[in-house]
């Protein structure tokens, strides 16, 4: 092949490639429906969750029937692919008007310009649980219908048989008491008395274990400046907590084997299970009235649990944000919030909806979780650096679990987080 034909082939290929990319730009259709209403696209992450999807479909149907200006068109994605879909859509400038997102990612997407300030009437956002509202730099960007909560699930009979005090919200286990209890339970024949879900991966690690770190007096980042993790993630309190964490595995109090979920507790293979309320109904089914929902242990600064679940926001490229706002205002009705709670087993975000809820109302079996959420919930740091912090925290915690030196691992994690923040010019702080 001579030089000329190579050049020809390359130019033909380049033209073809250009044509293909041009095709990618097509397909952004009109935004009006057949009867002249403005269409609002809406993406949810709940394709794998029929109970949740059912409520959304009901809300959309009711909203579309309630007025003749807008029409909401709903599209759902499986949770595993959802964030990637949003990032890809943002890169292609093709975001939907309405989108839901996990609470801790809100500051990142707000900083990136994906979403705009929510601007809902304050009577709506004020009525919600504080952890069901997502903000960045003192501006509200998202709001959700519910929150989730973690707690320790136990059997009353097991605790009483082993003379372990049953803790309360006012008087939770101190860490020494907790250690003693785990030692006693191990001697009583439980191979690993505590299940903390360490076999799971991903955001669970930050969601479940960073509150323990906060309870011990450490944190993921210095929340005053949001510029460095120095001192928060590698200070003496953090080292003390992670040493406990490492020991808990080394002593066989807990393990990272087993299956994700709460099967071990339901089969009475573990005595205590640190898990979310989404597993609580099955625990009630397995243990009946014997089941207890307890606050997590106090590592020094009082018990803490993670707050913030999935919430709704409006994209910055939305052509009719008024319509999106109208839909969200319409959707924050107590009846829908109760429906989410009943079908999905989540804590309703408003008091009225909680009172009407099947599981969390005055007669509800899962009522203790409401108190845990109100008393102990701490939001994850509201900084765009959160995805990096979370990934680094997970890696460091896993390394420590597997026996890495605590101080140097935490120092490494701090360095990684600080490097990232610096290379992003402080993420706007």
């Amino acid at each position: 092949m001579n030089r000329g034909s190579l050049a020809k082939i390359l130019s033909v290929s380049a033209l073809g490639a250009l044509a293909l990319t041009a095709c990618g730009q097509a397909g952004q259709g009109g935004t009006t429906s057949d009867d002249g209403r403005v269409q609002l696209t809406m993406w949810t992450h709940s394709a794998g969750n029929p109970a949740e999807l059912e409520v959304y479909e009901q809300i959309v149907k009711d909203f579309n029937a309630s007025q003749d200006e807008y029409e909401v068109v709903e599209e759902s994605f499986p949770q595993g692919a959802y964030n990637d879909a949003i990032v890809a859509a943002a890169a292609a400038d093709d975001l939907p008007c309405l989108l839901d997102m996990d609470g801790p990612i809100v500051p990142n997407w707000a900083w990136a310009g994906y979403i705009q300030p929510l601007d809902l009437p304050t009577e709506i956002t004020d009525s919600l649980l504080p952890t069901a509202v997502g903000s960045y730099q003192d501006e509200i960007y998202s709001a959700g219908y519910w929150d989730a909560a973690l707690g320790v699930i136990a059997r009353r009979s097991v605790l009483e048989d082993n003379n372990i005090r049953i803790p309360t919200v006012d008087e939770p286990w101190t860490i020494d008491e907790f250690d003693d209890a785990l030692g006693t339970l191990k001697e009583a024949g439980y191979d690993t008395p505590l299940d903390i879900g360490a076999e799971d991966a991903g955001e669970w690690w930050s969601y479940a274990y960073s509150p323990m770190l906060q309870s011990a007096g450490g944190d993921l980042i210095d929340r005053d400046t949001m510029l460095s993790a120095e001192g928060a993630l590698n200070g003496p309190e953090a080292v003390e907590f992670f040493t406990w964490f490492q020991d808990a595995f080394a002593k066989g109090w807990t393990s990272n084997g087993g299956t994700i979920g709460n099967e071990e507790f339901n089969n009475d293979e573990v005595a205590l299970s640190y898990t979310g309320m989404w597993n609580a109904l099955d625990a009630v089914k397995a243990a009946g009235d014997d089941v207890l929902f307890l606050p997590p242990p106090d590592f020094g600064d009082g018990p803490k649990i993670g707050g913030a679940s999935w919430q709704w926001g409006i994209s910055s490229t939305c052509e009719s944000p008024e319509g999106a706002r109208a839909y969200l205002e319409f959707s924050f009705q107590d009846e829908y919030i109760t429906a989410f709670s009943d079908k999905q087993v989540v804590i309703p975000a408003t008091e009225a909806a909680t009172a009407a809820s099947e599981h969390f109302g005055p007669e509800g079996k899962l009522k203790p979780f409401v108190e845990l959420s109100q008393e102990f919930a701490v939001p994850r740091p509201e900084t765009p650096a959160y995805p990096v912090i979370s990934s680094t925290f997970e890696k460091a915690a896993k390394d420590i679990m597997n026996g890495a030196d605590v101080q140097s691992t935490l120092d490494g994690a701090v360095q990684e987080i600080d490097t990232n923040i610096a290379s992003n010019d402080g993420y706007g702080f």
Binding site: I9, G16, W111, S391, N402, G403, G412, S423, N424
Partner: protein, 316 residues
């Protein structure tokens, strides 16, 4: 005479010109056809290989991020300095990648050859063995990884097997949770999964060696081992080069097993260059730094491939 003398000289000249023109036209037609046939592959290669490589090259000198309101900024060699001086995970990833390749290449190639020789016998039921050895290759590596993850657990199949055959004298560990065994566990699983493929390649090489050569060797009184070293091995030279290059490239690109089974842990003992690039460049959204790692990886693979080519060509 003159006529007969001149005519032949003139006619061939005209014919040469004509046939040259014909040949040129045919050549152009051929060229056009070739172009059309090559275009689909070339367009795709350009779009998904050349353009990304060029982009990665450009991005690795910037602080580009996946999600950011700020435009990327040129940062010179900062990313490269960071990789080699301030990122112990990167250095560990490089080491792990080399260890993995250094073990996989000889063991997998050797085992593949041994299996190929075994299933090349003319005995009944040999096809069944070929199929058995090949089954893991057609199974998705994700599925294989998930299954082996269960088998490697503290109370998993492997440990209960060890326990049984040693009559309880030797207790296994939780293979993937132990920093000193995790990479080894991944190596074993990877060999098990891929060895069937290379067995098949070796087998095709074995079957190109004519039977007469073996006959002649036997008549000369060669033992089976002498037959292998003097007939089989020289006959497999080009197959050997192919197997070596493909195993090396596949081994350096280790990713799925790590992503599914250990996520680089415990304590960085299984992180690899490709895994680290994905973690940094995509999951932690530092596209620029991820591109830097990819570029370094690209250069390493290129250098190794060139060395291999050099070594195998010199012997020709």
């Amino acid at each position: 005479m003159t006529l007969t003398h001149t005519a032949p000289t003139e006619r061939p000249a005209a014919g040469r010109q004509q046939s040259r023109r014909r040949r040129a036209a045919a050549g152009r037609r051929e060229q056009r056809a070739g172009l059309t046939m090559a275009a689909p592959a070339l367009i795709l290669l350009l779009l998904f290989l050349v353009v990304p490589v060029l982009l990665a090259f450009g991005l690795s000198f910037t602080n580009a991020r996946l999600i950011s309101p700020n435009p990327p900024r040129f940062v010179g060699l900062d990313n490269f300095v960071r990789a080699f001086t301030a990122d112990p995970t990167f250095l560990r990833s490089t080491l792990n990648t080399f260890v993995f390749a250094a073990v996989i290449v000889p063991v997998q190639a050797g085992l593949g050859l041994a299996l190929a020789v075994l299933v090349n016998q003319k005995i009944r039921g040999v096809t069944a063995f070929r199929v058995i050895f090949f089954v893991p290759v057609v199974t998705s590596i994700v599925v294989v990884s998930i299954l082996w993850k269960f088998m490697y657990q503290d109370d998993g199949l492997i440990n209960s097997f060890i326990n049984t055959v040693t009559f309880g004298a030797w207790q296994g560990t939780a293979w993937l949770n132990n920093p000193s065994t995790a990479l080894g566990a991944i190596i074993v699983l990877s060999i098990w999964q891929a060895v069937g493929f290379h067995m098949l390649i070796w087998l095709s090489g074995l079957q190109t060696i004519p039977e007469e050569l073996y006959e002649a060797a036997r008549m000369d009184g060669a033992s089976p081992w002498q037959q292998f070293t003097n007939v089989t091995w020289p006959g497999l030279r080009s197959t050997m080069v192919f197997v070596l290059v493909t195993i090396t490239i596949a081994a350096l690109g280790l990713f799925v097993q790590v992503d599914v089974m250990t996520q680089g842990g415990p304590v960085n003992s299984t992180t690899t260059l490709v895994y680290h690039a994905v973690r940094k460049g995509y999951r932690e959204q530092e596209t620029g730094y991820g591109a830097t790692i990819s570029l370094i990886f690209f250069v390493i693979v290129l250098v190794i491939a060139l060395i291999q080519r050099r070594l195998t060509r010199d012997e020709d």
